[in-house]
Amino acid sequence: MNVNELIDKFVEKEKNITASKKLNDRILNQLERKPVHSIKLWQSLAVAASISIVIFSGIKLGGLYSHSHDLTSVNINDSEIENLNFYNSTSYE
């Protein structure tokens, strides 16, 4: 069998595949359904613009916050805490 015959055999086999008997009904039923509207360019742009505005506003609002400069410091240096043993000492009495 040569290549052309192999191809013809393959094509004939595929040509024998038949569609489902319900295909025509399926097609006509599909026409009853509302077409799905494709997303238009302006809609995509509107969504992209909204996201950009939200991000920009977030950054701007975040930038507005500035903490106070008059910081009150708390001394947490242990070495400056008075030694309590001094008061417990008997010799102190």
């Binding site: 069998m1 040569n2 290549v3 052309n4 192999l6 191809i7 013809d8 393959f10 094509v11 086999k13 595929e14 040509k15 595949i17 038949t18 569609a19 489902s20 295909l23 025509n24 399926r26 097609i27 006509l28 599909q30 026409l31 077409p35």
Partner: protein
């Protein structure tokens, strides 16, 4: 009912008249789709998509060509778009083909496993070779082989000359010969 009357009624939204068109052309559209996708379920989906497109864009049909030519143009465009989109997801496609082949092998129970395997490999090679043809060669090949369409009609669908169609078909045959030469004697 003449073709002009048929089209006019469809333009008015008459679905009963459109059913006549579906009845008349669905088998041919399905056959063309099979030539491009090779899988029954995919070809059915494509056939459905083609007729939905035809119904929704019938207002664009000016009657410059025959209705059948216009239907075939839509069929070819739909199939090519589908194939190009599918190629982008070739991994899914590969898995689908694998399942399809395995299912077919299981279904043909009258052959022994070795015969089934050899035939399946051969068919896959032919399918791949057809699918890898350049677009114009592939369109011309499918329309001439699967639909047994005369070159004149193919030329109208492809909007080219009869000579160019002949050349596409000839080149397709040569390409397939080269790619499938290894199968002879298997």
């Amino acid at each position: 009912m003449t073709e002009v009357e048929l089209v006019e009624n469809i333009k008015k939204g008459d679905k009963d008249v459109f059913a006549i068109v579906v009845e008349k052309y669905s088998d041919r559209v399905f056959r063309t789709s099979i030539g491009f996708v090779h899988i029954k379920e995919d070809a059915e989906d494509l056939t459905q998509e083609v007729f939905v497109r035809i119904f929704r864009s019938i207002h664009n049909f000016k009657g410059d060509s025959e209705l059948s030519t216009w239907i075939y143009k839509i069929t070819v465009n739909t199939c090519i778009n589908y194939v190009n989109t599918k190629n982008r997801f070739s991994l899914i496609d590969f898995a689908g083909n694998l399942f399809h082949t395995a299912h077919e092998n299981y279904a043909s129970a009258d052959k022994n496993p070795e015969e089934k395997y050899t035939e399946s490999e051969r068919e896959n090679a032919i399918r791949r070779a057809i699918d890898n043809l350049p677009e114009k060669q592939r369109i011309a090949f499918v329309l001439s082989k699967y639909d047994e369409m005369p070159q004149k009609e193919i030329a109208l669908i492809m909007q080219t000359s009869v000579g160019a169609v002949e050349q596409h078909i000839q080149r397709a045959k040569v390409t397939l010969q080269k790619k499938l030469q290894h199968l002879v004697g298997k």
